[in-house]
């Protein structure tokens, strides 16, 4: 009994200290005594809050080669991650203070709305439906949907090849490419296969259950690079998927700041460097930064 009481007292003490410590942090933050990386921002803005806190939470994909892929060291790496680092750097936050959380396609809006992620850079196609819930800075890259086929397949030349109804195509459920390809299909039930990840599609393509895999070109290029000589792209990109940076709806000052940051990174070479280190390994054409859309 005595031990229990002692434990309780100890726990209470720890809690009190902990609360006090938190309070202390806030106070010093207000006084501006922490190191803010020699950057100053207008009071009350998101930039000021993040800069003072010296911490930013970035949502990204953990399974997208070239854009956001979590490695064995537990840290995601890729073009999206590099873009996130550029934004953090402009906010005066060092690389090691960035916290990454995984934001798969289904939960991206939710994570932003709930404030669990400050920004989301996750191969995030800008569209109007999503704009109803969140805001987009950028685009910082324009991908396009393409079709992956076996290297010796000449029967598929583009999305129109599916109109005849005898070719089967695979994509990932809930993704924009899956919704896009549907309009080219004669019969969804007998032509479309959806999995939760692209690797299963590649497997189905390999063993002949499907004739093609469709999604954004950069993802497909990643698979071509990993399976030398086995696959190829069939034709040109047939959509434009502008990738944007998701942030809380209505935070116009923060959006403008990220847009400015992107433009700065386009011109000072950091954008090009980020590409060459990551997705550029699959696609040697360095993209020119697309014009940001300040809607």
């Amino acid at each position: 009994m005595r031990i229990t009481r002692m434990t309780a007292i100890a726990a209470a003490a720890v809690l009190t200290l902990g609360v006090a410590a938190c309070g202390g942090d806030d106070d010093s933050g207000d006084a501006g005594s922490t190191d803010t990386g020699s950057k100053t921002f207008e009071a009350g803005t998101t930039m000021e809050r993040l800069n003072k806190a010296q911490k930013i939470v970035i949502g990204t994909k953990f399974d997208q080669p070239g854009f956001g892929l979590k490695g064995l060291d537990g840290k995601p790496a890729g073009f999206d991650v590099e873009i996130g680092k550029i934004v953090a750097d402009e906010l005066g936050i060092p690389e090691d203070k960035i916290e990454y959380i995984e934001t798969p396609s289904a939960v991206r809006e939710e994570k932003i709305e709930k404030g669990e992620a400050d920004i989301v850079v996750a191969t995030y196609t800008i569209n109007d439906k999503r704009k109803e819930r969140i805001d987009f800075a950028g685009p910082y890259y324009v991908a396009g949907q393409n079709i992956l086929v076996k290297a010796d397949d000449t029967s598929i030349t583009g999305p129109d090849s599916f109109k005849a109804g005898d070719k089967k195509v695979c994509s990932v459920q809930g993704s924009t490419p899956a919704a896009n390809i549907e309009q080219y299909l004669a019969n969804k039930g007998s032509q479309l296969v959806l999995f939760d990840v692209y690797t299963k599609c590649i497997d189905a393509l390999n063993s002949g259950q499907v004739n093609a895999v469709t999604t954004d070109n950069v993802i497909l290029l990643g698979f071509i690079a990993r399976n030398e000589g086995k696959f190829k792209l069939a034709g040109e990109n047939f959509t434009e998927e502008p990738y944007g940076i998701g942030l809380k709806k209505g935070d116009t000052a923060f959006r403008t700041f990220i847009n400015d940051t992107l433009e700065k990174a386009y011109s000072d070479g950091r954008y090009e460097g980020a590409w060459k280190d990551t997705a550029g390994k699959f696609d040697d054409q360095v993209p020119t930064g697309p014009a940001v859309n300040r809607y």
Partner: protein, 235 residues
């Protein structure tokens, strides 16, 4: 909650496909399970071994693994589960006949996995039949097959029906995995598509998906309660 009204057709067609999958898999599982149960009590040792091995393997493997072997192992062996393209059935269940084999793989996975549980439920039913029944049947000269068909299995079915129902209810819920193994348009897969491709809010969509599953499982549960009460009276 407006998503339930706006996309009612998506939920309805998802429910229909899931229902087809569950119906066909339940039939498959009942057939497989009964055969396995008969094997397990047969007088021929090799048959007993096969039955026991089947139950041991599939009852103890996670369903996801079984499904993986069905959806990616069968193609590696060169099979698209074409033996399920049963003439007549394919005209009622159109997905059964299409070139894309994932509906058939789903039936294989669910039937084989659930069959192991069905086998054990039926075997427990068989064990519930007093030994005197089988002995009496043998005494009047019935063969093993006749004994099973006319004496043991009819009584075993009655004792097994409630546990069997629970197994089938579990199978209906397990069918939600189908969407992750290539089956397009099934109930939970439709839910995932609504949330991520169309950006609908997650909670209402999955409330809709749950309602879909409840529509299938609750009546089945009520039917089982009813059967159980009737059986209690009959005894």
């Amino acid at each position: 909650m407006s998503v339930l009204v706006d996309h009612f057709d998506v939920f309805a067609s998802g429910l229909w496909l899931t229902f087809q999958l569950c119906l066909l898999s339940a039939i498959g599982a009942l057939i497989l399970g009964t055969v396995a149960a008969v094997m397990r009590i047969s007088p021929i040792p090799p048959l007993r071994w096969v039955g026991t091995a089947y139950v041991t393997v599939f009852r103890n493997c996670p369903l996801t693994i079984v499904w993986f072997f069905a959806a990616f192992g069968l193609p590696a062996l060169g099979s698209n589960a074409d033996f399920l393209r049963i003439p007549g059935l394919t005209s009622v269940f159109s997905r059964l006949g299409v070139d894309i084999p994932y509906f058939r793989f789903a039936i294989v996975a669910l039937s084989v996995y659930t069959g192991a549980f069905v086998c054990e439920a039926i075997r427990s039913g068989i064990n519930a039949v007093p030994t005197g029944q089988a002995e009496a049947a043998r005494a009047i000269g019935l063969t093993f097959t006749q004994n099973l068909r006319h004496v043991v299995l009819p009584q075993a079915w009655k004792a097994a029906i409630v546990p069997l129902g629970s197994v089938i209810i579990a199978m209906i819920k397990n069918s939600a995995l189908a969407g992750f193994f290539g089956l397009v348009g099934e109930l939970s897969n439709s839910g995932v598509n609504l949330t991520s491709a169309l950006g609908e809010p997650i909670i209402p969509v999955f409330i809709g998906v749950s309602i879909g599953f409840l529509i299938m499982t609750v009546p089945l549960g009520l039917l089982l309660d009813h059967l159980e009460r009737r059986r209690a009276v009959a005894r």
